[in-house]
Amino acid sequence: MTQTRNLIDENGKRTDGRGIDDLREVKITVGTVKNADGSAFIEFGKNKILAAVYGPREVHPKHMAQSDRCVLRCRYHMSPFSTDTRKSPAPSRREVEISKVMREALEPAVMLEDYPRAAIDVFVEVLQSDGGSRCAGITAASVALADAGINMRDLVAACAAGKVDEKIVLDINDTEDKEGGADMPVAYMPRLEQVTLLQLDGNLTSNQFNECIDKAVGGCKMVYEIQKQALMQKYFGNETELKEEQQ
């Protein structure tokens, strides 16, 4: 990727007015799909993504069932109207790959051994995309899993960092993804201090790599707080505010 124009202005502001360490505005609403066992709707900048969880439930086809643990299944899909030019509704190779890395990012957090012979299905639908949709999708899916009451070791929070104008910046948006120097999505379990997803495209030196991964993990920790807050809001409502006042 070769950059053609400056994406950070002389005041250190990015194309959408953020500083280099700022997260886009993140809003998570829990329990937006009535029929699902758990669900969450996330707005991550201009991303609008719905995650729904069904399960644990019986596995179909039956031969896919595992006798000692549960099968986690994951589908990442973009709606045809979610992008600038219409996206064919058929799953692309990109979506197949993202479904896979997304499942692998969530799996370490889920106590699969607690639900032998069952399946848990995670559906992530991107309604509007704005760069970093896999991170936003993982973040929402993990909240939806928690909302479904699935036993988990931790929540999985995800956030990207990247390189723009030779600077390492947090949470890159669509323009920065397309025109910037590098994009590194990271998913992280903050309580267990484990990275469950790491990808990179674009060029980084050794030092930039270390800075980038530290920055992305920092972003994940910010997202983690928003996830917890969203869950508290649904299950304790106004009690959360009370608790904070007491502290």
């Binding site: 994951c74 896979k100 499942r103 692998e104 990179l200 980084l204 030196t205």
Partner: protein, 273 residues
């Protein structure tokens, strides 16, 4: 839909225990050190019908890559660049678990990760592959076939793609009266850098370079790191486990050092091939 049904080979309980014991003593079951790759054998120009080709053996994993040059329209948004398309396929010959038919998610991931390493490194100067700007460009296909699978297909496939491109002969095409004409002459590919893929598997607290299929059957997580001359250009964590940030930073450093060694090998090979 992506499902967590295990697709790697199943390693017997006793064998798994043996592997753990061996790792605790600092050796792998096949006698390698943790940072040691299996022997790498490369043969180039094995397919005469292709514009470039390579057969790579990494341990018992075996991959053939072939380069085919055609002309076509440029990609949307990349009007002044040639097109480079890398694909990979695991043939039904490769293992008892491989089946004919459309690629499953593991094979799609393999093809996309290998393609990403080559693409992001900007190995080929695509701007030199334009015939009529915005209309007709060279389209370079690199197709890979895994003929025998014994772990770490990512690196084996990547090395096959890189060596086949390094040794490929690009036909010199010209525009005459609005038609593409082959001059019958060839030139080397416009190569700018040599990307090298290094893959490691984590088993417990041990991180092992170039895992065999048996080790992949026991691994918790996998990481593939691509380096080019100037630094890192692509990374993909795979499999269902996780890494600590420290483990990742260490793996990146190892990939950088090992990458240099392999890069020197590939370059030398290209000079002689």
């Amino acid at each position: 839909m992506s499902s967590s049904r295990r697709s790697t080979i199943i390693v017997e309980h006793l064998r798994r225990q043996q592997m753990w014991d061996s790792l605790a003593r600092g050796k792998r079951l096949d006698g390698r050190d943790f940072n040691e790759q299996r022997p790498l054998e490369i043969e180039v120009n094995v397919i005469k019908k292709a514009n470039g080709s390579a057969r790579v053996k990494l341990g018992d994993s075996e991959v053939i890559a072939g380069v085919k040059v055609e002309t076509g329209e440029p990609f949307e948004g990349l009007e002044n660049k040639g097109a480079l398309i890398v694909s990979a396929e695991v043939l039904p010959t490769a293992s008892p678990h491989a089946e004919p038919g459309p690629p499953d998610e593991e094979v799609i991931e393999l093809a996309r990760v290998v393609d990403r390493g080559i693409r992001e490194s900007e190995m080929i100067d695509l701007e030199k592959l334009v015939l009529v700007p915005g209309k007709i460009v060279y389209t370079i296909f690199v197709d890979c076939s895994v003929t025998n699978a014994d772990g770490n297909l990512f690196d084996a496939t990547s090395y096959a793609v890189v060596t086949s491109l390094l040794t490929a002969k690009l036909p010199i095409l010209e525009m005459q009266e609005g038609k593409v004409v082959d001059t019958g002459k060839t030139q080397p590919m416009p190569v700018t850098t040599v990307p090298v893929s290094i893959t490691a598997a984590r088993i417990g607290d041990y991180v092992l370079l170039d895992p065999s299929s048996e080790e992949e059957g026991c691994m918790d997580a996998r990481i593939t790191i691509d380096t080019a001359d100037e630094g890192f250009c692509a990374i993909q964590k795979g499999s269902t486990g996780s890494f600590t940030v420290e483990q990742l930073k260490k793996a990146a450093e190892t990939a950088r050092i090992k990458g240099e060694e392999v890069r020197a090998r590939l370059k030398e090979l290209a000079r002689n091939g």
